[in-house]
Assembly symmetry: C2
Homo-oligomer: 547 residues x 2
């Protein structure tokens, strides 16, 4: 391995072990070259209405591409080669042997190099992400650029440790009394087989690169099946991986892209193929459950979850409402980590400035949301645009069954007049009305749920996490004993808790190298970024013995 | 953790990392106290025809016990309290909280202590094993005593590393330009839930303790469901774990035993219980497949496999035949690691002393088996007795469809005239006769299979491993290129290969701390002793954040 790659891996290993703050790639756009933004925009614009040509091409008879910018409400017009499932698998199979026999150290070097090369294209990827997901520019840059690269580097460093954790060969000597029994042994991490990584529409690289890089470093060929509405960002990443592979004399088909369309999906056929052994999936629970139940597959899923806020007692109520408002508004609630259900005791909450009634809490949250979205310097850039029309209709449906404390506010985007914008609706309902709040309502909506007391709030939040899954939980309490109870009960449902977040700490954000993302212990998913088993299960230790 | 336990864990960690020879507990009975054997026998005999009283008892209305000595062909008469599945789960649930909140270091200390205490009872366990499994005394001693304890120690040391591999708390500081964002975080390995460990009749402790100790150290309560015909050995182990728990002020019900009968099995009901989250299983493939497919469970299985020998070319033919004969005779082939199918080219094989025809190879193997079993100092003690009548009838059925080169030879046991003895049958068949050889024929039987050449031998062995599963493969070849081909093809079916074993190296034996046992990559099982994921999947990392 090159010294540079070795150093990058080593830094990541240390950070991950100690769970400290670490950024392998700076998240601030200003840390990059002065002209990088302009160049990235220009390169992005050159992709529009063309055939994407960055990937190595196998024989194909058609192209697909139906991405639409949620900001401009027009199609991007980028067309990608379409391949049948059987052909993709055959190409992967052919490319496998060379990759399998590439030493782990060399694989690591190539993959680290690909990440470094991807970082040269962060701005281009940011615009591609913005105009497929609807994320704001800054979020697009961070999530699809440095944050995604950091998650990939986290995976590489953990996998590198795991792939090298046992000696590769040993002279095994057993004293037998009159003589020694001597056996030479070797121990080999054998890759499982073809890996399928199924992406989602909202985080096309962040949710895809961990499985992609984990499978790759373990020696598996990978087929990436992006969401039909969000292909370009990951296509650019795959282009850089292919370039790093071919520069090292390896077949480009070690990674392939399998674009499809909403009307003719290829995912199930690929997933069910007997040669596909590993499946990473980010998306809805219904299809995720199908993936998890497929016999003979090892699966890593991130599905839907319902995240809770437990509001018990606070010091600075305005700071709390502001924090909740930001978390609810960020990317219009289209984050798997966004809070949905805010449990508030019917008697209200204690604050350092006195008691607040339930209605005052509802008003406080609503006003904070209103203040944020109506702030022209903050609103449009926090909300971003809505990726999918369905997200809007889902919220409209929920409104029928609740009391609307704050309806969606028209938020014009200063740059994109046609942008599909939707500010969060704040709805109020009773705990008994579980038919409304006790399922995922993905998008710009929060429910303030009236409970008997904080004990009931916790009970409902924990039960919801265990039954429906949860990726995050946010709790505000000034009572140490309640804090401990919340940690105990939510952790028992394998849900992490963030306590008393105000200021710049937001429950939506999971930092690479420090925060695990999805525990794998509740229905929100069966795996997480990045635990040892996330990488270990992609290869098999096999030892040979030589007398 | 006590210094002694710490040292024991540390030594095991080092050995495992380096895959060196290491024995935490000596395998030679002579390494133990001079009177230990006599005392162990006496203690074993005191169990006969009594109610087993070593385990903490919960309310129960009946007892069960139907163990039969394969040496004496009489029932042991030991009776164990019987509990309903729902009650066992309720007791486990109640005991869980105290165990979950016991720090990892304390759990490790208690569990290491239990192993040390078990080692004081190795001889008693050996006789209990002998008279339930039919293993010879020495194998009973080694497999159920030191080798089982070593596997448990291997699990503890690996799990201890994993449970402590990330920092438990950190002050996370992210520079934000004008200020630092500071968040306190903790990271907790949360146990999954109630663990069910399902034992087998032939290796009642060796196959049970890895899952048992792995679940325990991760903080899960465990219910052990022993095979109805082989309860006493593991009952003694569980007694020592309970004693170590109660000595530390913890509930005995952290581990429970769930004995049942062949006619009224409790296993499926326990496995399907929604509170049972982890299942370890050793046994037949049919029920193993049912276990693996149960939704919402994390399973660790060792099922049936068909192990091959590929005979290509040898130096010392007699040494090879002797080694094969021993591996086939050891415990009458009732080992999951025993070879079954011996692939030999129709043209025969090259040896250092000249060419041997196919028929000469068959004769050589047959004669070696005959010589071993007819040696009164070796035969009975290598073979042991047959655990189950079905094993005998299975072999008799296979004889009808093959050419019998060596039939079973009556082998009287000098100490136990009623012992159910059966020496291996050597059968010859063509590769085309896959209906006979291409499934598991567990017990004293080997098939010598005539192939076109060694390339076909390898093809058949690899395909068999991929389709039916295999835990071991033994290959004899003097050709380095063929050696590499065999390693490549068998490892691709996730099957380890032992090359050119003669003398005291036997394919059946997998050494703790060095050899992985079951790869988890083919149908012989989905997990193995002991890989990181074998322990990691029993708990979930959950982090909390405190602003």
């Amino acid at each position: 391995m090159s010294t540079q790659a070795q150093n990058q891996i080593q830094q990541a290993i240390e950070a991950q072990k100690n769970r400290q703050f670490y950024a392998a790639y700076p998240e601030n756009p200003k840390a990059y070259a002065e002209d990088a933004n302009a160049k990235g925009l220009e390169t992005f614009q050159k992709h529009l209405n063309t055939d994407f040509s960055g990937l190595a091409e196998n024989p194909h008879s058609s192209r697909v591409g139906e991405e639409v910018s949620p900001y401009m409400m027009v199609g991007l017009g980028v067309q990608y080669p379409y391949y049948e499932a059987e052909d993709l698998v055959a190409y992967a199979r052919n490319a496998w042997s060379a990759w399998k026999h590439t030493p782990v150290e060399k694989r690591a070097e190539i993959l680290v190099q690909s990440l470094n090369n991807v970082s040269e294209r962060f701005f281009e990827i940011a615009y591609a992400t913005m105009h497929t997901t609807g994320q704001s520019f800054v979020m697009s840059f961070q999530a699809s650029g440095p944050h995604a690269n950091d998650r990939a580097m986290e995976v590489l460093s953990l996998a590198y440790q795991e792939l090298t954790r046992f000696t590769r060969s040993v002279d095994w000597v057993k004293p037998m009394g009159k003589f020694d029994l001597q056996i030479k042994k070797d121990f080999n991490p054998i890759p499982r087989g073809i890996s399928l990584v199924i992406g989602c529409s909202t985080f096309p690289t962040w949710n895809t690169v961990p499985g992609l890089y984990a499978s790759l470093i373990a020696g598996n060929p990978v087929i990436v099946k992006p969401h039909p509405k969000s292909i370009l960002p990951i296509a650019i990443v795959l282009e850089e991986i292919q370039k790093a592979l071919t520069a090292a004399g390896l077949p480009a088909n070690v990674v392939q892209m399998a674009p499809d369309t909403l009307s003719s999906p290829i995912t199930k056929k690929l997933a069910e193929h007997s040669d596909v052994k590993l499946i990473d999936y980010t998306g809805g629970s219904a299809f995720g459950d199908v993936i998890e139940a497929m016999p003979g597959k090892i699966t890593f899923t991130e599905k839907a979850g319902v995240n809770s806020i437990i509001l018990d007692s606070v010091n600075d109520a305005q700071a709390v409402f502001g924090n909740i408002a930001f978390s609810a508004c960020l990317y219009s609630g289209q984050m798997c980590t966004a809070p949905q259900n805010i449990f508030v005791p019917e008697a209200g909450i204690a604050t350092a400035e006195g008691h607040l009634s339930f209605d005052e809490v509802v008003a406080g949250i609503s006003n904070a949301v209103k203040g944020l979205v109506e702030n022209p310097k903050m609103g449009p850039y926090t909300l971003g645009a809505i990726q999918n029309d369905l997200t809007v209709s889902r919220v409209d449906e929920a409104k029928k069954h609740t009391t609307v404390a704050l309806d969606s506010i028209p938020v014009p985007h200063p740059e994109f007049p046609d942008a599909r914008m939707k500010s969060p609706v704040v709805m109020v309902t009773d705990a008994a009305n579980a038919g409304v709040w006790k399922h995922e309502c993905f998008g710009p909506a929060v429910f303030v749920i009236k409970t008997a007391n904080s004990a009931e709030s916790l009970k409902l939040a924990a039960a919801s996490a265990a039954e429906l899954g949860a990726i995050t939980c946010l709790c505000y309490t000034t009572q140490d004993s309640f804090k401990a109870e919340v940690a105990e009960a939510m952790n028992a449902a394998f849900t992490p808790v963030s306590f008393n977040f105000t200021g710049a700490a937001f429950v939506n954000q999971h930092a690479a190298f420090s925060d695990f993302h999805v525990s794998g212990g509740n229905p929100s998913g069966n795996a997480g970024f990045t635990t040892p088993e996330y990488v270990n299960r992609r290869f098999v230790w096999v030892g040979n013995r030589y007398a």
